[in-house]
């Protein structure tokens, strides 16, 4: 097994990480589609001074990985997050949203 791939948010301009399109572009640049098919673990490091990581950016970046993982556990086995405490539950919510049943009239 290779060394884990590291995605360090401090390398991308912050502290506001927003926009679906930016997330999708970053995903393509980091080649996460290929990372999803390999057995390697990905470490995601979000710096302390971050103001926000919005759901649109997060799901643009990790959305297809969450959907292809099929469950929270499997996603977190592959993607390990080191993030400020206020962002952890938020991002967990984003992961849940990606996996949610989409029935408005339930």
């Amino acid at each position: 097994m290779d060394a884990p791939k590291v995605i360090d948010f401090s390398k991308f301009n912050g502290p506001v990480y927003t926009g679906r399109e930016r997330g999708v572009r970053l995903r393509a640049e980091l080649n996460l589609d290929a990372a999803d098919t390999s057995a390697n673990v990905v470490d995601v490091v979000i710096p302390d001074g971050t103001y926000t990581v919005t759901s649109s950016f997060f799901l643009g970046l990790f959305g297809p990985s969450v959907v292809s993982a099929g469950s929270k556990d499997r996603f977190y086995q592959r993607y390990r997050f080191v993030a400020p405490s206020f962002l952890r539950p938020e991002m967990d919510g984003y992961v849940a949203r990606a996996l949610q049943e989409k029935n408005l009239f339930a």
Binding site: K11, F12, N13, G14, P15, V16, Y17, T18, G19, R20, E21, R22, R25, L26, A28, E29, Y51, T52, T54, S55, S56, L59, G63, P64, V66, V67, P84, F86, L87, E90, Y94, A96, R97, A98, Q100, E101, K102, N103, L104, F105, A106
Partner: protein
């Protein structure tokens, strides 16, 4: 030494003609280049303002004074998008239509009758003024601007700090240093029609959001408070999702964000307004084909409450705007695997959190948020709350059972009768308690004129 004109007249005349011809050619060349540059700019940007035309809508200037190039705008008594959106939008539409007259010479803005004035109405008026002034600058014309302030000192300060005075740079009418030190003002307009998204770079939207969060922190700092990291995240998510939605769905990159806090007096009110021009929320959904994934998701709602043989109460635009607020509804979703449609969910969540906190600490009034998109207005005041349905999806049906199978409350969701907004606008107002009184109002003149 004698000048050769004295002894060689033909040579002198020949050289003089040559010089004149050279200068004429140079002038013609310069003028051709200038005209070509102007034509290029005009062919790309047009000779009129698209935004002004959109605000004017179906209104047209018909008065004699307008034809002479003199426009007078009298704001209604209740000039507020939160409290009187229909009349406010109609008055701004008429003003924009009047300003579209060719050879505009003088504009008079009368706010003397206005007793209620909010940042939303002010923001729209600013855009009209900005567009008219930009057009005049491009055409190398000068417009004579004048007007009358509202009688209320508080409203007068808003006009000076964030209104037409600021936009027209009427420096002699700017708030005095002492007065300005008690105001927190934030204003950004993005007029860039080319959007370049880069993975490694922050865009204007992100930078504006960061500055806006710092602005709100400065406002809160005045009452000895500070946004927690969690609240700052929610605020940033709120602002940025609204701007992102504006850019992605309206198909026009023209957005404005304004924030205002006046700390004179005892009751402090923080106002935020965000708006963009382009397609409305209902427009972006109504363009979907009936076989699409999202249409399948929202069609039952339209069938249940839309205009039909038995019930003609609900307009399709109103229902489309309301259903678009629900979690996971986005015209860009094409299958269950798509994860769009969370922006408005975050926005409503932020407002609800603020409303709940206000309930505990502030007793002056409840925070209010008005969403206007096209000809639909939706009011948020904390009465109806978004909550997860049995599938876990955030739903806000605007009825007591919070059930999309029941119709919404017409007090909160309804159509604008007189005029709409060509895009989407969010206006929000919430109280801040300073816990101490401040200095008295600063006296000044009742009217203003821009000096040339």
């Amino acid at each position: 030494m004698q000048h050769f004109a004295k002894f060689d007249v033909p040579r002198y005349l020949h050289e003089k003609r040559l010089r004149k011809r050279k200068n004429r050619l140079r002038r013609e060349l310069r003028s051709a280049k200038r005209n070509s540059d102007r034509r290029t700019v005009e062919s790309m940007l047009g000779t009129s303002s698209k935004v002004l035309e959109m605000i004017a809508g179906a209104c047209s200037a018909v008065g004699r004074q307008q034809r002479k190039g003199r426009v007078a705008f009298t704001a209604p008594k209740n000039f507020s998008l939160l409290e009187n959106p229909s009349e406010t939008l109609a008055s701004i539409s008429r003003f924009a239509a009047d300003c579209l007259t060719t050879r505009l010479k003088a504009v008079y803005i009368d706010l003397s009758k206005t007793t209620v004035y909010d940042a939303g109405a002010n923001g729209l008026l600013d855009v009209v003024v900005d567009e008219v002034e930009t057009l005049a600058r491009k055409a190398k014309r000068k417009i004579h601007w004048s007007g009358v302030y509202p009688a209320d000192e508080k409203l007068k300060r808003l006009v000076k700090a964030l209104g037409v005075i600021k936009f027209l740079e009427v420096k002699h009418e700017f708030p005095k240093k002492k007065e300005a030190s008690m105001l927190e003002v934030f204003e950004v307009r993005c007029k860039h029609y080319v959007r370049a998204v880069r993975a490694n770079e922050t865009d204007k939207k992100s930078r504006t959001t960061q500055k806006f969060a710092d602005h709100v922190n400065e406002c809160l700092g005045r009452v000895g408070r500070q946004l927690t990291a969690q609240a700052r995240h929610l605020l940033c998510a709120y602002v940025t999702e609204v701007l992102d939605n504006a850019e992605e769905h309206s198909l026009m990159y023209d957005w404005t964000i304004q924030g205002y806090l006046d700390t004179h007096g005892k009751d402090w009110t923080c106002e935020i307004v965000l708006f963009n021009f382009g397609r409305s929320i209902a427009d972006s959904l109504s363009g979907l084909p009936t076989y699409s994934y999202t249409w399948g998701m929202i069609a039952p709602y339209l069938l249940r409450h839309g205009p039909n043989f038995w019930n003609g109460r609900w307009r399709r635009e109103d229902l489309l705007t309301l259903i678009a607020l629900q979690q996971s509804v986005s015209w860009k979703n094409q299958s269950k695997a798509d994860t769009r449609g969370n922006g408005t969910y975050d926005l409503i969540r932020f407002f609800q959190q603020m409303s709940d906190e206000s309930n505990e600490t502030e007793k002056q009034f409840q925070p209010k948020m008005m969403l206007i998109s096209g000809t639909t207005q939706i009011l948020f005041d904390g009465k109806y709350k978004m909550s997860p349905n049995s599938a876990g999806l955030g739903v806000l049906a605007f009825n007591s059972s919070n059930d999309l199978n029941s119709p919404p409350d017409p007090q909160y969701v309804n159509g604008l009768k007189q005029a709409g907004f060509p895009g989407t606008l969010l206006s929000i107002k919430f109280p801040l308690s300073p816990g101490h009184s401040s200095t008295a109002a600063v006296e000044g003149e009742a009217s203003w004129t821009r000096r040339k």
